[in-house]
Symmetry: C2
Subunit: 334 residues, 2 copies
Amino acid sequence: MDDPQFDVLAIGNAIVDVMARADDDLLVRLGLAKGTMHLIDAERAEALYAAMGPAMEASGGSAGNTAAGLASLGGRAAFIGKVADDTLGQFYRHDMRAGGVAFDTAPLVDGAPTARSMILITPDGERTMNTYLGACHALGPADIDEAVVVAAAITYLEGYLWDPPEAKKAFRRAADIAHAAGRQVSLTLSDPFCVDRFRGEFLDLIKSGTVDIVFANDSELRSLYETATLDTAVAALQSDCRLAVVTLGGDGAMVVSRDRVAKVKATPVEALVDLTGAGDLFAAGFLLGVARGMPLTDAARLGTLAAAEVIGHMGPRPAAALGDLARQAGFEIP
Amino acid sequence: MDDPQFDVLAIGNAIVDVMARADDDLLVRLGLAKGTMHLIDAERAEALYAAMGPAMEASGGSAGNTAAGLASLGGRAAFIGKVADDTLGQFYRHDMRAGGVAFDTAPLVDGAPTARSMILITPDGERTMNTYLGACHALGPADIDEAVVVAAAITYLEGYLWDPPEAKKAFRRAADIAHAAGRQVSLTLSDPFCVDRFRGEFLDLIKSGTVDIVFANDSELRSLYETATLDTAVAALQSDCRLAVVTLGGDGAMVVSRDRVAKVKATPVEALVDLTGAGDLFAAGFLLGVARGMPLTDAARLGTLAAAEVIGHMGPRPAAALGDLARQAGFEIP
């Protein structure tokens, strides 16, 4: 097996975030469950946008944020995702490449527009996402570049890929190629409602060893195992999976391996502005640490450092060079 | 004369900001004068964008920012500016209306795309703008809605309107309508290079009384009167113009009327993040104060409060409700 050219290949829905501050009242009026992702069609998108305040736009998408965070940490990142051949698609491609991420997926021509997620950010920093998937529906197995998968130490996939019908085939193809090349595969459960939509399939991916490293937060994990008790869910995960991380927001994270559950604290944040990207950036730090052979708890700490940066400002991707922050915090990334 | 329906009608180039952090080195490599606005064509836009880091987008444009700031303060604002019938134009219209600004200018169909400005923000918070005017070139006298001009206590125009050839005709038409209705007209000089391009015409607008209230910063004013000495320039302005404000960045502002020059201090800022919109938001506060008959120095203090908010975060428009901030700071806006 060759030395990998990339630390991580991230595969996910390529989405432009349209972000606005909102009161809790607005969420109630719009019938939105706070902190989760809602899939919407073009008509609903129009109605929500009309109800939303002045917005800012930034490239986002869960796996895309992870790739951008990994590059910002100094890692070698690639991304596969489907934008359209339109203005937002051009923005998305620019932001990826300008951040140092290899991104060569062909854009969709003469189809749906680039995906966008209308994100309502409440005063508590929580974000509620409303995603119109648009061109992401066109991501399929043909978009998986075998050479890139083979060249990546870890292929990282988002659970949201289960929503557009062809993307799960792309997911499975990527996992097969990665394993055939002796590489690792990682999955984030993405969202508790996403877990609810695809629970059986996600459990099968984990139990069958199709994925090696699982990311979940508290509510996603409890949804997966249909239990109100985190400890029960963690024990089940420990038995089903070789390596996992459970993120706990302000309480840090748990690294769950076969023989051990290790906790790390969250990195303190001066002011919590916007939680968008917190889990994605945690994954960036942890995956880079794993790809470079760092002790798992150090990798998790690198994850909390990256997450802390992104929640201190508006937008789903780092505003500062994370590699510099990591060095200042004493991390030595091999 | 009827009571005005709007405090301010702002007329300017409708521009989407594409903002990225940049080192000073990048400005040098790109041959850009820091802190100013450069007009670029589509080809140069492509080259600059390729050299720029990951970006965020937000609706901007000088007069547009002023209208948005005025509405955020609780004022009644209208805006006239030309976007295209494209995605960025839809964003722009949404952001204006969602912020409470009346904006009904017909979009350009089958022409140039919505204008964008690539803004490089250096670690000192200074912004260097590179503007592709696109659809703004199509703004003309026919876009000036007479009823809206008549309904506004003050019509506020940006000096940047002198760049697209038809817009200055729109400017003159708006000023004529406003004065015929007994309303006031205000002009911002916009940028020292803009002043250099149109010095004679700007001086004529001021001396002829086509504009009643002038906004300038230190460098714009010294460029207007071609002097290195601020005091000389202020004295000339005082003789040429009934009312003016000279903004001095961290040193506050001077209110210049026929018989008096009054200084106000800047509102302290915890961390200077992005100077984009500082002058525009100052104008929002000052104009609202004037429209509501506040003492001029109080109006200027309202301007410094609005400016301080916008430079504390990325983006050219307020992130907080400025009316709430003003009340907390003890302002009573009539």
